[in-house]
């Protein structure tokens, strides 16, 4: 797109988002997708991983910010570095393995090597270069992403030099990350148990727009609800079936339950969480599950009875940190959304072990992950079908405006500076994400508008 067209697009952006409807082009226009990568993924704090993935100096893992491959590495001084995975010489991707431990990075093309903070360490055949060739210059490096910050072990990066700190940006949503960590008796989480990586032919925004949607399970997940509700209980189970079937049955709670018993809360910068629609009795058979009783004992021993009670009474289902993170504290699940193209998305889902909890708790986490986040899940596969169908449906060029108005008239202020749906099925969390979207795309940027346009056209 040439610069004038881009300017027009940005100027025009507010006209694509109305208070209760969004233009369908936000889901299928490649030019808008490019703007999102630049202005949302380029300005927001983006979750990249957890500190337990890089415990020791030299530990690293590879991931991506938007479409950019990056390396997250723990330096010798224990400091975290997040580097563009590109050699300063001929541009080759330097680190090819998903994770590992090293004391330097070396490019396989001509052997340029780098310190763990990205500075160039050695260049073979370093003669005959121009006089101003300076391997110590900051631009000749595996460049570091401008800002890295971690909150209680969760690592975020920001590609912009300016803007709010991670904590200010998270605001009250930090309490959902607190909830994740507080549940560990030893006060620490560890990523474990592998990863699911699933893909769909649809826009990245659809994923978070579905995760707090209390109105869809009753319909979309009907096949697994019916199958689970008809399932006999006196059939052999090793525990895998037990948790999964409870989850699927609860998806079939009536609309009256979804509307009144769940709760939906939203906060600035597009963040939101859905209240818990299970309780421990329904899902993990807490009161009858010896592992859960042992867990509560461990928590009380480390934190005291009052604090343990407070922790266990925090009842949140999915917490969404816009634009690329969603997690769930009760079963220690975390999903990371990677936009690949306007109509192609990758979602990686991880599990955490609660340090100090009985091992059975982690096994329950794995079993829950298989059925809720698994690529072969009886539940998630119907969600993926919905994302695919939205991609296909929009290509029909029917209704121009997509509706996000459910509950619009009854949303109310929240005591912590957000908005909540009076009704739990309110689409307030989608409206809230688009408020953030307009802020990122249209303005409130960190550079002057002219400078942005110049950098785009460069």
């Amino acid at each position: 797109m040439d610069p004038p067209m881009r300017e027009e697009l940005v100027e025009d952006v507010t006209s694509l988002v109305k208070p209760a409807a969004v233009h369908r082009s936000l889901y299928d226009d490649p030019a808008i997708f490019e703007l999102e990568l630049e202005r949302i993924f380029g300005r927001a704090w983006i979750y990249v991983g957890h500190e337990s993935q890089v415990r020791e100096p030299g530990d690293y893992f590879c991931t991506q910010v938007g479409r950019k491959p990056i390396v997250v590495v723990r330096g010798p001084d224990k400091e975290l570095h997040v580097l563009h995975n590109q050699c300063a010489h001929r541009g080759a991707m330097v680190v090819a393995l998903d994770k590992g431990r090293t004391d330097e990075f070396q490019c396989c093309y001509h052997g340029w090597t780098y310190h763990l903070d990205g500075r160039l360490k050695a260049v073979p055949l370093q003669h005959g270069y121009p006089a101003d060739f300076n391997p110590k210059s900051r631009s000749m490096a595996m460049l570091a992403v401008p800002r890295v910050s971690s909150y209680r072990g969760f690592i975020f990066v920001n590609q912009s030099d300016n803007g709010p700190s991670l904590e200010d940006w998270l605001g009250y949503m930090a309490t959902s990350l607190d909830d994740m960590v507080d549940r560990a008796p030893d006060g620490e989480l560890e990523i474990a148990g592998g990863v699911f990586r699933h893909t769909y032919n649809g826009n990245w925004k659809l994923y978070l727009e579905n995760l707090c949607d209390a109105a869809h399970p009753w319909f979309t997940h009907r096949s697994s609800i019916d199958a689970a509700q008809q399932q006999k209980d006196d059939v052999y189970t090793d525990g895998a079936g037990e948790i999964a079937i409870r989850q699927m049955r609860q998806n079939g709670a009536p609309y009256s339950f979804w509307e009144s018993q769940v709760g939906i809360w939203t906060y600035p910068n597009g963040h939101s969480y859905l209240g818990d629609y299970h309780d421990d009795k329904k899902l993990v058979a807490a009161l009858n599950d010896p592992a859960f009783r042992d867990y509560v004992d461990a928590l009380e021993k480390k934190k005291g009875k009052d604090e343990a009670k407070r922790i266990l009474e925090v009842r949140r289902w999915n917490s969404n940190v816009y634009p690329n993170l969603s997690f769930m504290s009760q079963f220690q699940q975390l999903r990371v959304i990677h936009p690949l193209a306007v109509d192609r998305t990758l979602v990686c889902t991880y599990n955490f072990r609660l340090r100090g909890a009985p091992e059975q708790m982690f096994h329950n986490t794995i079993r829950f992950a298989n059925i809720v986040n698994g690529t072969g899940s009886l539940v998630l596969t119907d969600d993926l079908e919905i994302y695919n169908r939205i991609g296909l449906g929009i290509s029909s060029e029917g209704a121009e405006w997509l509706q996000i108005g459910r509950g619009y008239q009854s949303d109310e202020p929240d005591e912590h500076g957000g908005r909540r749906g009076k009704n739990s099925t309110s689409e307030v969390y989608i409206r809230n994400m688009f408020d953030a979207w307009v802020g990122y795309i249209g303005g409130a940027g960190t550079k002057t508008k002219q400078a942005q346009l110049e950098s785009v056209s460069a």
Partner: protein, 177 residues
């Protein structure tokens, strides 16, 4: 053998009763029957091939040792497998609207372990083509069936499927391997 009318491989016909070992030919015939039931979407009959305490496992990592320490693409006990099969029959399984069509090749059948007379561990290779909507996907890998004979019929005590690309980014998996 008429697979239409009797979805089973008779261990007895091959001279296999309780306590006797399955031979490779009987195992191969059984695996071909299983593949055919899956290709023909006869999932109830497929389910009937499993023992009451069977497990069905598709790991998410190459060489995965444990289904409880690491996530799996599928890890079903009998109860969940029944639910999975019942869902496949639902008219409202939107991820199968339209239905997939599949074609499986099963080959390289070997008996890996029959030291325990009660069960036989069978290894085989497969190639699976799945077509749905506008896309065709290709899967391949190794299956491990632990087979046993109950009442003269060969049954699956456990099945493990190691996909070559088990750790790849994958679109949803609905039809079993």
């Amino acid at each position: 053998m008429n697979v239409r009318q009797g979805a089973q491989v008779k261990g007895e016909r091959a001279g296999i009763g309780a306590g006797k070992r399955l031979d490779v030919h009987t195992c191969e015939q059984f695996l071909l029957l299983e593949a055919r039931l899956l290709d023909e979407a006869r999932f109830d009959e497929w389910l009937a091939l499993f023992t009451p305490e069977a497990s069905y496992w598709v790991p998410s990592e190459p060489g995965q040792a444990d289904p409880l320490e690491t996530v799996s693409l599928i890890y079903d006990d009998r109860r969940l497998l029944e639910t999975r099969v019942r869902r496949l029959a639902s008219p409202r399984i939107y991820s199968q609207e339209p239905r997939s069509r599949t074609s499986r090749i099963v080959t390289n059948v070997t008996i890996e372990d029959d030291a325990d007379a009660a069960t036989t561990l069978v290894r085989s290779k497969f190639v699976l083509i799945e077509f749905r909507r506008n896309e065709q996907r290709l899967f391949g890998g190794t299956s491990f069936h632990r087979l046993t004979v109950i009442g003269g019929d060969v049954r699956i005590a456990s099945k493990r499927v190691d996909l070559v690309n088990c750790d790849a980014p994958l679109d949803g998996i609905v039809v079993p391997f």
